[in-house]
């Protein structure tokens, strides 16, 4: 693990708090405004909660990324859970299979600048989101 990178194992609701606190600290360290750090911490909270709700355990990695002429932060939420059979459906507002609000993924997409999801039923899910510094 290099500098400017954190990794938090997600196994319980307490880990959600740890992940978002450490993610916020890294965002602040990288020079994100307090407003952007709040958006990033909120996105981490939602992604970590998805891991606990759907896959039970997984990992959140937050790291610095460099674009062509800009710097940003990337949050990777990965698990080896059941996977998402229909990604398009999961990205629609109001969709949920766990009895939660069902705003998770579309909401996270709105909080961040870039959103990528890869999921294979039976193998797990990886969500990668990025936010660039203005």
């Amino acid at each position: 693990m290099s500098a400017g990178e954190i990794r938090v194992a997600i196994k319980s609701d307490q880990d959600i708090v740890v992940a978002r606190q450490r993610g916020r600290a890294l965002a602040a360290e990288l020079g994100f405004s307090s407003g952007d750090a709040t958006l990033i911490a909120t996105a981490i909270s939602e992604l970590a909660r998805n891991i606990v709700s759907y896959a039970r355990k997984g990992q959140i990695t937050v790291k610095m990324v460099n674009g062509m002429d800009r710097q940003g932060i990337s949050v990777i939420a990965s698990d080896e859970g059941p996977g998402i059979p229909d990604i398009r459906q999961a990205l629609r507002d109001g969709f949920s299979t766990s009895g939660s609000l069902g705003l998770g993924l579309p909401g996270v997409r709105r909080l961040m600048d870039e959103f990528e999801i890869a999921s294979e039923p039976g193998r797990g899910t990886t969500v990668t989101v990025k936010k660039w510094k203005p």
């Binding site: 606190q21 916020r24 909120t42 909270s45 939660s100 609000l101 579309p106």
Partner: protein, 120 residues
């Protein structure tokens, strides 16, 4: 981490800390409703000034607290949502519909005092 609940006359004041886990929030939900019953409180103020993240679970829990307390015939006011937190909530699509909000503890108390003055 336990959330302190303060009794202030006919009102209860619960002050949230930053690092509340889901389990803490669930515990608070039960604790508040029980205290409303015990003290026959007219209203509850939930102060979230210290909360730096309000995600879907936290906002759903707040709505549930408000609805449960309403069923007991009392009122809930959420105070102290920070501007950045409000912005993130809107981006995330979270609302606190049907729940009273106020700028801070002082405004929340003023709102409730006014409200209960007229009905007494």
């Amino acid at each position: 981490m336990e959330v302190p609940i303060l009794k202030q006359g006919a009102f209860l004041i619960a002050t949230f800390q930053a690092a509340l886990s889901d389990a803490d929030l669930n515990q608070l939900r039960m604790g508040l409703v029980q205290q409303v019953v015990k003290f026959r409180s007219r209203a509850v103020i939930v102060d979230v000034t210290a909360m730096d993240v309000m995600d879907s679970f936290a906002s759903r829990t707040l709505r549930e607290i408000a609805h449960m307390i309403r069923l007991r015939g009392a009122e809930t006011v959420i105070v102290g949502i920070q501007p950045e937190v409000a912005f993130a909530m809107v981006q995330l699509g979270l609302t606190l519909e049907g729940v009273a909000t106020a700028l801070d503890l002082e405004e929340g108390l003023a709102y409730l005092n006014e409200k209960f003055k007229s009905t007494n």
